[in-house]
Symmetry: none
Subunit: 300 residues, 2 copies
């Protein structure tokens, strides 16, 4: 299975939040401390950090390995480096994190926009170009593409299907599991099945990918959590990097991140045959032209 987050450029903190659910309880306690204040963590010795997390040094070491570091000193200097980079103009700090109960509208807007923009940026940062490239190739060569996702991810799935369709690729989106499974059963080698699940634990989505894989199709997963179950049935894993705040279960940030990834894939596929794409796009644009009225001019 090919991972997208694999290389570790910036965003160790983000990476850790992505791995959070796949960590053991004690490791999660460590992780949370680290995420909450990386600079502080970097200052502590392994024993201090272990005590603060209510666990043993051994667990801290295990945590280091879990997030891809060699040992504690390595983690420490990475954290110090990251912390240094994210020292922001003083008032930006208030913005990250959750929304206070008494927030006014301006604060709400600032916070959401900040989180959303960050999710997009950080997703792009950790996205592996090679994996994307391979996925794009698979998509470009597939006879048929099945896209699947439920709930919020379904919106993104449907969006991708429409995009692909517009540039002349044969793509389907099945909002319903049963039809999706039936369709997946008809895929064959060279075709692509793409499953979108933020948590990576949506059983429907996993089942569909598994089915597709059994038929020999190339399977691609798009999820926020690089070790979630869905990655086990995927040939390629693309990850988003959104840390959801508890408050906003609407999960917009993660959706934006997903859309960004999808858009990258789309543009990648489209770029492989620019001329054909332009033609197809023009045709589809024209088809809705008469549903628009002339833009009115108004005085300011």
């Amino acid at each position: 299975m090919v991972k997208s987050g694999g290389g570790e450029p910036g965003g160790l903190i983000v990476q850790i939040s992505g791995l959070l659910p796949s960590l053991s309880p004690a490791e999660q306690r460590v992780a949370r401390l680290v995420i909450a204040d990386p600079a502080d963590a970097a200052r502590r010795t392994i024993t201090e950090l272990a005590t603060a997390a209510g666990t043993s040094e051994a667990t801290v070491i295990r945590f280091c390995r879990s997030v891809g570091m060699e040992g504690y000193p390595q983690l420490r200097i990475r954290l110090a480096a990251e912390a240094a980079r994210r020292i922001e103009p003083a008032d930006t700090r208030v913005i990250g994190g959750d929304i206070p109960p008494d927030a006014d509208m301006a604060q709400i807007i600032a916070t959401i926009a900040f989180n959303d923009a960050r999710a997009v940026e950080e997703t792009a940062e950790q996205l592996d170009a090679d994996t994307c490239e391979q996925v794009v190739q698979a998509l470009a060569n597939a006879k048929r593409i099945d896209v699947f996702g439920v709930g919020a991810s379904g919106t993104v799935a449907s969006d991708f299907q429409q995009k692909l369709h517009r540039i002349g690729r044969t793509a389907f989106y099945w909002p319903d599991v049963h039809t999706a499974l039936a369709s997946a059963a008809l895929l064959s080698k060279g075709d692509v099945a793409l499953g979108i699940s933020h948590t990576g634990t949506t059983s429907d989505c996993i089942d569909v990918l598994r089915q597709a894989r059994q038929q020999g199709a190339t399977t691609v997963a798009l999820t926020n959590f690089p070790r979630s179950p869905i990655t086990e049935v995927a040939d390629y894993v693309l990850t988003t990097a959104a840390r959801e705040t508890t408050y906003r279960s609407g999960a917009t940030a993660s959706r934006l991140a997903q859309l960004t990834v999808i858009d990258c894939l789309f543009v990648g596929v489209a770029a492989r045959d620019r001329a054909a794409t332009q033609r197809a796009l023009a045709a589809t644009a024209e088809s809705v032209a008469d549903r628009r009225i002339n833009p009115g001019r108004r005085r300011g």
Copy 2:
């Protein structure tokens, strides 16, 4: 912002170069290594650094003390932090604008993410908090809310409807013009109709808002163009700030901007009754819990 340990200001490297002449020969050799490549120095153990400088560990410790650090680990993390800070966004400027035909995947990702993040940020910047506040109030007090949008904007409209529904507001989304018009005809004073149209020229969308307004409902438009026709039938106009590139008619950036605005409204409405919202969200989350499987733990 709190600085770590020593109480020394930034610029450790600079400080070291200043101290250079006052150091003993062996310490100077260490200092020069550190200045030449702080990041590399941070990566080495004290023994490695000592060997590289052709000296003993003891001298390295002395060097640490000479420059005001408590010990080697402290120096190490300070160096890592400083090194990180001086790595500057190398090619951020190249990124804006359109995608060249020969772009590789990494470029595509960078460009798209940049544009997407910008769209979100700029939208938030120009969004008027007062208008939002008024819209939020209208939404919070409405007996009924109709959301309308076609095509890509339809996705966003549907998303908003779902969000509102989840927190117990009575909201509808009509994918079809005729039903939408019929529904709008049943709105009355105090209700809200929200129309989403990127261009602001989608006649279907405008017609629905006009209808709603005639019934005395409060009308809200979400568009990218503040002087487009749709604004003439809207009591409140919320604008996004996305500059689409010609190439990407998929219009993802504008969609992200729309979603961000929608999310702000949603959180605004939700914040008015946090307790009730929490309860509703928990209930809806629970309802899908059995569609998820346990997050798998896999060894790294």
